[in-house]
């Protein structure tokens, strides 16, 4: 192996690319050649390091110096200072506190990184980096010392359950597929991560693609499959590119293709891209999409394990599920089952978002309480406001109030509380959030994404949205709550797939835990959180108003009148409640009633 004195990680995340990361990278290489340093300094492309908003950025090891915000013209200076003279090019050095990954920071004490262990640390475009981190050890162990049945037993003993959200035992799925008759079987990876705000899978695909590939090869061996597909959403072009590079390298190294590792097991893998349809995350819709059809779900049974892609037995697992497999095989089921609770073993990645201090990706063992997730891992509520609710499970999940904060995060507890695990979106809401508005927002999403095949989902979500629009618009009626409850129940029971069945959950859970907010909206025509525009009005406090006229000058509709140095007045009928006046007022004289 070649020895380098320095390793430079250069971020080629979309955000840095648009700021000229590639041009700077080329210039950097050229400069290293010009200075005769090219054999001493290794340059690696990687995903996000941490400060892409100030990008382009690079990290120099072993020193751990983080540079950002340079241009092509600054490259000779950085090379001269750092690599020739051996001192930090201060001008572009990021202070340690800003040099944090905006998506994935260092793990907090309560976190355990299994799936995310390599993300941001290895070069995803270099298979050797992965191998150096014990990559493909699990595959070697499985192929050379275990029978397919033993592999399934090991995964069964680990307690691994589907990370796409439903939590079905992974090994059981494999067993069913293995037991199905037929020569041709498919292994499919669901990388159609569509939940807004959830980007755990993207990060794994971009940061550690070989973990997913290795997991899929092991699954294929266990099931008896020789062809696999990764179905990745088209919104993730970098993930697709990284995967394709990784697959090619795995082929070159003999981990994919004919006679893998010299055994008589053969398997190959292809990436298929979606074209923008949320419902394709549903497994039957996903397979229809790979077949070149509209991505519409179909009733189950038959389950994919019996009749899936092209009516052949198929095994569909999520990115994160596959990424766990190599380490389960390498380290043993007992090691993995050491994390988590009795029924939910191992760890789960989450995208923590909303009104929490530290947003971004986390990975925690199952069984941690929601309180620990929000306050210990997430650092608590932003601006030290009060906690109001946490939504788990993405757009089809439920909102849980403070009383549920000590609930352990596992599949059964979240379902029992009226929410769900889902793929891993966690949205924290502070006490200035209107829960009716939140329910409306998520309903808007599912209504738009309903594929339209079955009536309960297509029409039902539309009707719910109309009622919620009315309530938020100040035209709620007695009986609306009961009507919502009936509709939700019907949609949940009668829809074809998980999208429709889950669509009412945000409404059901907010009705259950925040019913009084609905009642106040309907009966008193008031929005307690002061969010719903039709139910609020802006007022100027005469005692605080100095008559500076700044609000009147910024008002887009001319709703504010008043003489200079006299208290101003907002005309309720002309005001469109845009809130600009409140933002520009320097004297805190404008309030929402």
């Amino acid at each position: 192996m070649k020895y380098y004195r320095s390793h430079v990680l250069v971020c080629v995340d979309p955000d840095c690319l648009r700021k000229g990361a590639h041009e700077a990278l080329d210039a950097f290489q050229d400069e290293l050649v010009a200075q005769g340093l090219i054999d001493e300094v290794q340059v690696l492309e990687t995903s996000r390091i941490g400060a892409c908003s100030q990008g382009p950025e690079m990290m120099v090891y072993p020193e751990g110096v983080h540079y950002a915000g340079y241009t092509v013209d600054d490259i000779p200076y950085i090379v001269e200072e750092h690599f020739l003279k051996g001192r930090v090019a201060k001008k572009f050095e990021l202070p340690a506190e800003t040099a944090i990954d905006e998506e994935l920071s260092a793990p907090t004490p309560k976190e355990v990184r299994v799936v995310l262990r390599n993300c941001g640390k290895i070069d995803p475009e270099n298979i050797e980096d992965y191998i150096a981190e014990d990559g493909y050890m699990g595959l070697a162990k499985a192929l050379t010392s275990m029978t397919p049945e033993q592999v399934i037993d090991e995964v069964l003993a680990s307690g691994l359950r589907g990370r796409g959200g439903a939590g079905f035992p992974t090994a059981k799925k494999w067993q069913f597929c293995r037991a199905s008759t037929g020569q041709v079987k498919y292994v499919i990876c669901n990388a159609d991560e569509g939940d807004p705000g959830a980007f755990m899978n993207r990060r794994v695909l971009e940061g550690d693609p070989h973990a997913v590939i290795e997991g899929m090869i092991i699954a294929a061996y266990a099931i008896g499959s020789s062809q696999g597909y990764v179905y990745c959403r088209a919104e993730y072009p970098i993930a697709v590119q990284t995967l394709n590079i990784a697959i090619e390298q795995a082929r070159t190294m003999g981990f994919l293709g004919q006679n893998i590792l010299g055994t008589d097991f053969s398997f190959d893998l292809e990436v298929r891209m979606g074209a923008g349809a949320f419902v394709c995350g549903e497994e039957t819709a996903l397979m229809a999409s790979i077949e070149g059809k509209r991505g519409e779900p179909r009733p189950r049974p038959p389950f994919p394990a019996v009749s899936g892609l092209w009516a052949k037995p198929s095994n569909v697992n999520n990115v994160e599920t596959y990424a766990n497999v190599p380490q389960i095989i390498t380290n043993g089921a007992a090691w993995y089952a050491g994390f988590g609770t009795e029924k939910s073993k191992g760890t789960k990645t989450f995208a923590l978002a909303g009104d929490v201090k530290h947003t971004g990706l986390i990975e925690v063992p199952f069984g941690l309480s929601l309180r620990e997730v929000v306050f210990d891992v997430g650092g608590g509520i932003k601006d030290d406001k009060g906690f109001k609710a946490i939504q788990t499970g993405g757009p089809m999940g439920g909102c849980l109030p403070e009383a549920y904060l000590d609930l352990p995060v596992d599949y059964e507890s979240l379902t029992a509380a009226g929410s769900m695990m889902g793929s891993g979106g966690l949205v924290v809401m502070d006490d200035e959030t209107c829960m009716v508005d939140i329910a409306r927002f998520f309903m808007e999403f599912t209504q738009e994404e309903s594929c339209g095949k079955c009536t309960p989902c297509r029409v039902g979500t539309k009707r719910i949205l109309e009622i919620l629009d009315r309530i938020c618009g100040g035209e709620g009626r007695e009986g609306d709550i009961e009507l919502l409850e009936t509709l939700c129940e019907q949609i949940k029971q009668d829809s074809l797939c998980g999208l429709g069945q889950g669509a009412p959950t945000p409404v059901v859970s907010t009705l259950k835990h925040f019913r009084e907010e609905y009642e106040i909206h309907i009966r008193e025509k008031r929005c307690p959180a002061r969010v719903c525009k039709a139910l609020i009005r802006y007022e100027i406090l005469p005692d605080f108003c100095t008559g500076c006229t700044v609000c009147a000058r910024n008002c887009p509709t001319g709703a504010i009148t008043g003489e200079r140095r006299q208290a101003h007045l907002i005309d309720v009928d002309t005001c469109i409640r845009c809130g600009i006046c409140m933002q520009v007022c320097n004297f805190n004289a404008i309030v929402i009633r």
Partner: protein
């Protein structure tokens, strides 16, 4: 069916290239449509005719697929397509104001193309770069942490001289 405004020869070339690249089988339909949509900006009727002929797939099925997915357009699009992320994480960090600014500058609504054929404005589902929201994509360029004031400057980068 869709409208044909693109030169027939250009259409045939684009279809030919895509079919040769992926192979003339039904399971390559979505990748083929994707390539043609990218090359021509949308899927004109004569492109679907040609794909139908080459893949031996009924046109009804092609239209069914091309009208289902959000990334395929059956109507001509502007020279530059602006995608605005409308999902919750971008929404809460000021996406609404950026959207208002876009509407204000472009004077077109969602899904519309400007009179001069320069811009098409569409909304998109979550792009998974929530850490830098609000996010807009113009053609293949991603812009993160966008503020309403930056909209004019970003749009100006796509001037007449730039292809």
């Amino acid at each position: 069916m869709t409208i044909a405004t693109v030169d027939g020869k250009v259409v045939l070339e684009a279809v030919d290239k895509a079919v040769k690249e992926h192979g003339a089988t039904i399971d390559e339909l979505i990748p083929i449509l994707n390539d043609v949509n990218r090359a021509l900006g949308y899927l004109p009727a004569n492109a679907l005719d040609e794909i139908s002929r080459r893949l031996r797939v009924p046109k009804s099925q092609l239209f069914s697929v091309s009208s289902f997915y959000r990334m395929f357009s059956t109507k001509p699009r502007g020279k530059h397509v602006i995608q605005f992320c409308e999902s919750a994480p971008c929404h809460v960090v000021g996406g609404r104001q950026v959207w208002a600014s876009l509407l204000d500058h472009l004077k077109i609504g969602p899904g519309e193309t400007s009179q001069d054929g320069k811009w098409t404005l569409v909304t998109t589902s979550c792009l998974g770069v929530c850490g830098v929201g609000p996010v807009i994509i113009i053609d293949d360029d991603i812009y993160g942490n966008v503020t309403p004031d930056q909209v004019a400057e970003i749009l100006a980068r796509y001037g007449e001289t730039r292809e």
